[in-house]
Amino acid sequence: MAAAPHHVGLFVTCLVDFFRPSVGFAAVKLLEEAGCTVEVPETQTCCGQPAFNSGDRGDTVAIARQVIEAFRGFDYVVAPSGSCAGMIRKHYPSLFEPGSADRAAAEELASRTYELVSFLTRICGRTAVEASVSARVTYHDSCSGLRELGIKEEPRQLLASVDGLTVVEMRDAETCCGFGGTFCVKYPDISNDMVDKKAANIEATRADMLLAGDLGCLMNMAGKLQRRGSAIEVRHVAEVLAGDLSSPAIGAAAKPSKSSNG
């Protein structure tokens, strides 16, 4: 164990903040269980990907500066998203001129920014979690986490330690779900083709729960599974690792049998 606990700034992500706070609280629980102290800087909003991927460099730079400021002084910045963590780690430095003070600050932030699950395993050294969830789950590898950050075994390793849980692999787990940020509304027909194939692969596993590490992908897949009439629950992997399923699954009505404060 390190002498002092890691001082972590939680990058909530705009989607978790807006759609699914329970993911944020699950992340806090996991980080605190791993011995970290967690703070949530108030001046954070979004990582800037919508602007970055639309070619709007000016707005991206402005937002990146705000994030760099908001997270000064933390040992680590952790996001429950491979996509937003990838944006900060892999793309922020490229926004600024080499040799500039901004570039140095962006590189410094990038070097201490992590996606949640890989932070727990790589930095906190976690190999197991204290959670019990009785379910047969399948895991979708979101593209940014997988290809920008190399996250593949980490979620599976921690999920294997959840009491009562079985992981079944779907076909083409590494194939994009078709979300792609604004792509899904700019090219709805293509996006639909992709998420429809993904949903078929998920259903074929006969899993009762779908997990992933990025809320955008999860909402896309949940929305499609529900439109197809599937009853598979869709949740962020952090909820299961934290052992907290008190919120109804994404896009699902509260179960009448369970009490809910929703």
Binding site: R20, P21, F25, G55, Q66, C143, C184, G262
Partner: protein, 472 residues
């Protein structure tokens, strides 16, 4: 070839309504993706070879002028001719002139995407010269008056039933009762139809996968052997290719060939790898009397030293098309020009202009699979983003998107106000969704709700709840 890349959306709609295309596209994941994965697995040094290949290409592009001049000298020494074609029109003219000088009536052709790029067949036909495509895929699309839908499998958009129907329509001299329902029968029929053409042709035209500066050779890789017959039987062989195909040495070609077929079709090597160096020498048993190489620029040299230089490393294996979920959904014709998939989304704007090709770099989720499988590790998503930046700078991005973005960015830069607006919006959507907690229709988000339900927010935002729970 006239691009229709600007009409990408319409092309996509047509692709989804084409049942034959959708049926044909099912071949892509099993035919290419799985085979490449196996080929890679069987060669432990695959990734090391990729890096060697990249170093070769980088070095060559940095010294492109020197290697092209060295190549030209070697071709001349071997008795061949090199023609420099700055534009597609120049290339067409050079080839038409050679054909006219030789009095050519019939020209056989191996597969060449550069030939498609410059629209060579139409230019030959306009001069009364008949081009006959000898690659099976190219033969099929020529029969149909179509353009290639894949850079290595030009007719991948067709089902075998369509091919049978085309053959029955065109090969009217053959007995109508013949059985040609399966690929081997179709291939045999095409071969029989082409055999005499090889012998009758006045000129053979091929592309080139590589040019070798050290020897002045051009290299083609094929699986049908049609390229060999095309280039060695007629009296004149014309190679039409582009300037970035040159590499320094034979050894360099050997290195890159080891990743080319594996990336393309999952083969260790293509069935035929053919090196051509100059015309027939006195002691050679066969070969052409004249050997010409037409080197096309057409916008490529302008990519050197820019954000798009890495694209010139491309060895045209097609792996990025095969692995792209967008390509797998809509096929190559939707991209509206010769080059499709991720490599087309980057290269087409460079060659035909971003105004014409504006939609292509946007038609990607940035899933990154193309870059992952590219043997030359070309950062395709990054370059698509560079194109999006050019579009944004030049106000080619739709104004509704621009306005939405700037409003959102303005708000994101004001965290206090952002919290109030998002808090209100989250609660409103939660109320709107009611107990089902999801919406089947949502104004302004019909692109989403046409195909999926829209999950409602939980209610309060994380920041609101965090304040309540942690700070009372």
């Amino acid at each position: 070839m006239q691009p229709t890349s600007h009409a990408f959306k319409e092309n996509v709609a047509r692709a989804f309504n084409d049942a034959n295309l959708q049926q044909a596209l099912k071949k892509v994941p099993t035919g290419f993706v799985e085979k490449r994965a196996l080929a890679r697995e069987r060669l432990p040094e695959f990734d090391a070879l990729r890096d060697e290949g990249i170093a070769i290409k980088r070095h060559t592009l940095t010294n492109l002028d020197l290697y092209l001049e060295a190549y030209e000298r070697k071709v001349q020494e071997s008795g061949g001719h090199v023609h420099w074609a700055p534009t597609a029109a120049d290339a067409r003219q050079i080839i038409v002139d050679i054909c006219k000088r030789r009095g050519a009536r019939l020209v056989t052709k191996g597969k060449s995407m550069v030939s498609e790029e410059i629209g060579l067949n139409a230019a030959l036909e306009a001069e009364g010269i008949r081009p006959v495509e000898t690659d099976l895929g190219e033969y099929l699309i020529q029969l149909r008056g179509e353009t290639p839908s894949h850079i290595i499998a030009p007719a991948i958009h067709l089902t075998k039933q369509q091919v049978e129907a085309d053959f029955r329509r065109v090969h009217t001299e053959l007995p109508p009762e013949r059985v040609i329902s399966e690929p081997p029968e179709l291939v045999a029929e095409a071969r029989a139809m082409l055999r005499q053409k090889y012998l009758d042709a006045d000129i053979g035209i091929t592309g080139a996968n590589f040019l070798i500066a050290e020897t002045g050779s051009s290299v083609i890789v094929t699986n049908e052997g049609n390229g060999d017959l095309t280039q060695s039987l007629p009296k004149v062989h014309i190679v039409i290719t582009s300037i970035e195909k040159v590499v320094p040495t034979l050894e360099d070609v050997s290195t890159i060939l080891r990743v080319l077929a594996r990336s393309a079709t999952g083969q260790e090597f293509s069935s035929y790898t053919t090196f051509s160096t100059g015309p027939r020498r006195p002691e050679d048993p066969d070969g052409p009397e004249e050997y010409h190489v037409v080197l096309l620029d057409n916008g490529r040299s302008a990519m050197l030293g820019t954000n798009f230089e890495d694209m010139l490393r491309c060895i045209r294996c097609g792996a990025c098309l095969n692995h792209c979920p967008v390509y797998q959904a809509v096929g190559g014709h939707a991209y509206g020009w010769v080059y499709s998939g991720p490599m087309g989304a980057v290269l087409t704007p460079s060659l035909v202009g971003i105004d014409e090709a504006a939609p292509l770099p946007n038609a990607s989720t940035f899933c990154g699979r193309c870059e992952e499988v590219c043997p030359m590790r070309i950062p395709l998503p990054k370059m698509m983003r560079h194109w999006r930046e050019r579009e944004f700078e030049r106000h080619l991005t739709p104004s509704t998107v621009r306005q939405g973005l700037s409003l959102w960015a303005w708000l994101a830069a004001r965290p206090g106000l952002y919290r109030k607006v998002t808090g209100l919006a989250a609660r409103s959507l939660r109320l709107l969704a009611g107990r089902k907690r999801r919406l089947r229709h949502l104004p302004l988000a019909s692109g989403w709700t046409r195909y999926r339900d829209f999950p409602a927010p939980e209610g309060k935002t994380f920041h609101e709840l965090w304040k309540e729970r942690r700070h009372g």
